[in-house]
Symmetry: C2
Subunit: 326 residues, 2 copies
Amino acid sequence: MNSNMEKPYVVGIDIGGTNTVFGIVDARGTIIASDSIKTAAYEKADEYVDEVCKHLLPLINTYGGADKIKGIGIGAPNGNYYNGTIEFAPNLPWKGLIPLAAMFEERLGIPTTLTNDANAAAIGEMTYGAARGMKDFIMITLGTGVGSGIVVNGQMVYGHDGFAGELGHVIVRRENGRLCGCGRHGCLETYCSATGVARTAREVLTARTDESLLRAIPAEQITSKDVYDAAVKGDKLAQEIFDFTGKILGEALADFIAFSSPEAIILFGGLAKSGEYIFKPIQKAIDENVLAIYKGKTKLLMSELKDSDAAVLGASALGWETKELS
Amino acid sequence: MNSNMEKPYVVGIDIGGTNTVFGIVDARGTIIASDSIKTAAYEKADEYVDEVCKHLLPLINTYGGADKIKGIGIGAPNGNYYNGTIEFAPNLPWKGLIPLAAMFEERLGIPTTLTNDANAAAIGEMTYGAARGMKDFIMITLGTGVGSGIVVNGQMVYGHDGFAGELGHVIVRRENGRLCGCGRHGCLETYCSATGVARTAREVLTARTDESLLRAIPAEQITSKDVYDAAVKGDKLAQEIFDFTGKILGEALADFIAFSSPEAIILFGGLAKSGEYIFKPIQKAIDENVLAIYKGKTKLLMSELKDSDAAVLGASALGWETKELS
């Protein structure tokens, strides 16, 4: 972590399909000011960036102006670290290739770095969270989809094109795999995202006849949170759904370990908060599937970043890595 | 590549289960002197290292003595880069943990670095071969087993314990997968090694009745070379065996791309020399299985290192990275 007395702050901007959240962060990882706007309300990227700046500038000025900001970090879907662009992001209103980092630099005169949201989460975890001091770890974000950020030798893995680390789209079921939003079948995220858990619930409820608290909920409305609530109440079927989900995820994680032999795999996102219901079957499947030389070496951890802050903190951590504008 | 006028050479030692080959290499990647001994003839590691040194020292002295050698690089099964040890290598005569790098340093007074054989091959490819100038690539060695060496941001991926990159042991068939030497089922290497190809040949010849040149060979003696020879002669069944092998490998490579988004995947080893018979189905399976954002971006290349030299060159390339002894 770079703690520069002259420039003691960074800005984190987390761009989601619904909301854009941003804040000013100090070297200890405290968000000292924050605000948000609706992402989808701006048809043109220019209008959107103008609006973020309109809300962000007063915060910056309260803390001494742009001169006090070391850099801006942005986490965005399909964000390309090398170019500072968002490229063909299906969940954002702006089509094609958007040079977002440059657009912020022009308006604010502050160096800006951008990456995808899961990479930002990994950098946040390394800077402020459970991965502090680690040089090799994998961050898995379990949300609507499954994202990942991989750190090797203390550096983010961006790959030759800036798009490395799409572990949610590793194929875990080649035969009769579930259809994925990416157009292929059997991707990890079709089973192990929050959406995947709900999908499993609907499948199991249709295929079987045993009683379950979940039967009280209209099938199309079941969420992974409902499955968790039922599991906590002792619902056997709900617990089995987590066992199934954890098994598939643990099998996949065992393969990921063979790739980068990380010190830890860190789980982040709503589903990760299902605690032992999901961690136990994941750990069991890792232990049963991992190659002997890796056995018992890789820790399975929960993110230590507060959920509400994580996205902004993660993005902001990138701000410490920016270089001065020339 | 470090070309030091004072110390213009490195030594490469490749330790295989049968032979140990070693040589002196210059900065251009030319092996200027080499020799070999039988690995398995020495029950004790101490005797073995003594014998290598006995053969190596005359070569070193011919080229100006130990002062002219920048470093020694060793490629060995189960080699641990961090400790310079070989750890529980099933195909070597010495059991447990052998501090091989230190043993050579003591005897020769030359800094010594060690890694596993596939990593050494990757470093060789980056220093002298098809991966020159690349910062992100994956080396896949197709031999008796399937090995891998992964380079990210221009650095070998060793992982937190020194054992990263065992992609031959990623599970590619979870249901009814073939039994692997590692004790698990469905590993990539049970299908895509030379041994895996021979195994496929035996399975297919038993399960089917169509004619094939391979039927002239006793089933237990069939090698991947026999399958290649038959394929070249137009044998349909032999060609199908390569299609099957290439499909499984290509599917796996498509998943590996989602991990590190490499500029190239480089195939090395006897099987890789089956040319179009194996490259075509691999490329087809990559194209059909890779996530859209990676499509057409990762090159599939054949190693440019001469087979006979590759192991020593790869190991020697590590020698340029050694630090001076303190």
